[in-house]
Symmetry: C3
């Protein structure tokens, strides 16, 4: 698979500067690119690499138009442009349609003839698998699950019964969709299980990373809206709602019934407590715990700064006495005020 630089620009737009007849067969970073590669400059931080790159061509922004003499494509958003070029050069592998002979298909399941079902898959009774879906090996699709068109499901994914998935979704290995939420009630020294009878309902164009888990709703559904992107090892509890085009980085936990707005960006290893709401366009830093609702868009953080262990020891001990310290400062202020008053 390869394209002339000019062919790329005629498909994806952007201005060609220099020789458009150079043949490109892959994207690469500035530092590792070779003569048949197109590299990209999306951040000023890497501008110094322009001089030394062996890339055949470069994608860059308008203000970097003259930063190199190489053949180049100038684009408003060179990072997005690079993404589109990479999609062009790296299409998903073509998969033969068909159901592997050892797959176990439940009664009444409807599998589109263009779909591919890998070995060791189980497709539950009355499940619906849409056009062009690719379900790789060892996946377990529960009864009555509806999977929209063109899903790409990697090996070892489990989707529990009754969940509904839109079109163009990608689920990576180890994803679990629709497991029971953590619903228990204490009754005289015993936890009583609350049956989790809601579903997981996922929109279109949602990607979910490896080993991420999404619990089904307790009564109503857990919902992930169109265009949401979720990284690896994220835990999404029952009745959570994730808004459109919200991105959640790895290892984050979203507790039960939290409602996350649209276009939020949530850093990794954080946590969002349950039963709260996050507005649209909220950015949450990595490692941050959100303990109450956020009504205004903006950036929010709760990182305790790291330090060499010895310094940390000396400083952190005061956190246990911060109320006392604040009280002492108040006393000092009062004391000084008294002194002033006496003087006058």
């Amino acid at each position: 698979m390869s394209f002339l630089l000019s062919e790329i620009a005629s498909r994806l737009g952007g201005e060609i500067v220099g020789d458009g007849d150079i043949r490109i067969d892959q994207v690469a970073t500035l530092s590792s690119a070779g003569p048949n590669h197109v590299a990209f400059l999306a951040s000023g931080k890497y501008r110094h690499q322009l001089d030394e790159t062996s890339a055949g061509a470069v994608i860059l922004g308008k203000r970097d138009r003259e930063s190199t003499q190489k053949p180049r494509i100038v684009s408003d958003n060179p990072y997005v442009y690079f993404a589109r070029v990479s999609q062009l050069l790296n299409p998903a592998p073509v998969v033969e349609p068909g159901i592997h002979p050892n797959a176990v298909i439940g009664e009444g399941a409807k599998i589109h003839p263009s779909a591919s079902i890998g070995p060791f898959c189980t497709i539950g009774a009355h499940a619906v698998i849409g056009e062009g879906c690719v379900i790789q090996s060892s996946c377990n699709i529960g009864e009555r699950v509806v999977l929209g068109s063109r899903a790409r499901i990697y090996p070892g994914v489990s989707i529990y019964a009754d969940c509904i998935i839109g079109n163009d979704c990608i689920f990576h290995s180890g994803v679990v969709i629709g497991s029971d939420g953590f619903g228990i009630a204490m009754d005289q020294g015993q936890w009583v299980k609350i049956p989790q009878i809601g579903r997981v309902v996922i929109g279109n164009d949602v990607e979910i990373g490896a080993n991420t888990t999404v619990d089904r709703g307790a009564l109503d559904d857990t919902v992930i809206m169109d265009g949401a992107k979720i990284d690896n090892q994220v835990q999404i509890a029952h009745n959570v709602v994730i808004g459109k085009h919200t991105a959640i980085a790895g290892c984050t936990g979203i507790a039960g019934s939290a409602k996350i707005g649209n276009y939020c960006k949530i850093g990794g290893s954080g946590m969002i407590l349950g039963h709260l709401s996050i507005a649209d366009h909220v950015d949450i830093s990595a490692g941050t715990m959100i303990t109450k609702s956020i009504e205004e868009s903006g950036a929010y953080t709760s990182i305790y700064p790291f330090a060499p262990h010895r310094e940390w020891l000396k400083n952190s001990v005061h956190l246990r006495h911060l109320n006392g310290l604040a009280g002492r400062v108040g006393q000092l202020e009062k004391h000084l005020e008294d002194l002033e008053r006496e003087k006058s």
Copy 2:
């Protein structure tokens, strides 16, 4: 599956107020219930929804007895009552006993004739699978594993050799029981692996959430006692002991040899360091890290409060100088004291 409201009360107790002949086929929230649903009011926060609910009947506590005119069941603990009604209306699906013809069963394995073994399962040699167990597809049960009665094992669970599981346990997809603990010893620049020869021993009525991992003991066993409830993506390291009826929310890590008491509640995304003990009836807030033993029951917390990023920047910088700040306050106090002394 449906019951008259009066039939529910005659099975589960509680006082019926109003028409007991209404037919109920499902539980629901106040806001989404329909005329054949029973909703519940467990928290005053939702009382305003009573007026607008379309529920056919409501479960509520004694002090809310007259908060609605709908047919209702008055119970001491409406949340537990709702759980029991939901269990009544949503029994586990009936599963045909039997071993799927493609399952691979090891030599000497004993599988109770009432158990169900799904497709693509492997049952190791000399494993014992108890009465009424349901092992769904693609599960891997190791050699000599003992699984008590009525286990419900969702697709894609792995249990390593020699682990012992009690009765009435539920393991969700992706659970791994008995993987090696993280036991390594540094020898002249190389890590030497310490064989992990203990087991995991799990009591009765334990539920374990999706993608949770429980490592086997290094020498002695890792133990999870009766009635413990563990959410998704929890990591339980080697030689941990989890007490009876302790509940652990998602994404929490319990490090090696920690001993957690009975009836503890551990919030999500937290961590408990190794080789320490937590007393019974300890509540640990979400996102909290426990760094030493806790000998008294009660609630414990270590959350760094989040704030808008700009405010956080201004405040957090002082954490690196807290020792200095405390010293300056001490100096000021001394200084003022000196001034006082001079004056008198």
Copy 3:
């Protein structure tokens, strides 16, 4: 499997004190050992258990040589010695070579005749499986994957296409290697997926714990070097480099393009942000978030200390006003200075 104490010493070194003819069939802790067990004392903390142990023999360090009258082996590093004895007494189970008849083997895959491929495995086209590999049930090995000699792969592991794994690696159940990194670019309200075309390249003697995920590189590779040891539920993002003999405890997240040095020890439930470098021999405490590069070896920490919830409430509220508090202290200092100046 059993050895005379003297046989152990002749294989592994160390000085025998007392009866070398005692027969040892297992290792155990001091508190649970029986007469055919060898226990070990690696930390002074457990010295009091020496008097009461029923162990047949003990491994201990030079300064504890006379702390017991039992038959004993004196070693410079009793913990490493114990690890080696345990390896001797607990060799990996012998596995019959061969490919399970139901495994699905892709075209052109090369599987060494001494390797064992379990039931329900898929081996992709042109994959290479080395000498003595043991791949247990339900593993999915992608196309063109190269797996070195003597790998031990537990049930339910997925390795995506094109990844390269060295010799003597151990991957536990639920491990995912080579899933797509979290690469997305925002284009006019839509996330555009950036194809992840790098690989994961893993060196020799790397152990990876249950449900850990390692994403493939976006353009260049994600790299884990020789001898690295990674615990359960660790998330390693795209283009991360983990140095030689670095150990990472459970539930830790390493964000994209972070470079971790050799011989680092990273505690559990922590996080390392992306695009930064950690020097060799850095120890990072559990629960610590690293937000910028670390250039000097040493120990680093960012733990917020836990406290009883009520104390925490009283103290933590001041964190939101720390800048104000510091300002007030500055004002007080200035004020006192002014007073002093007036006096003189």
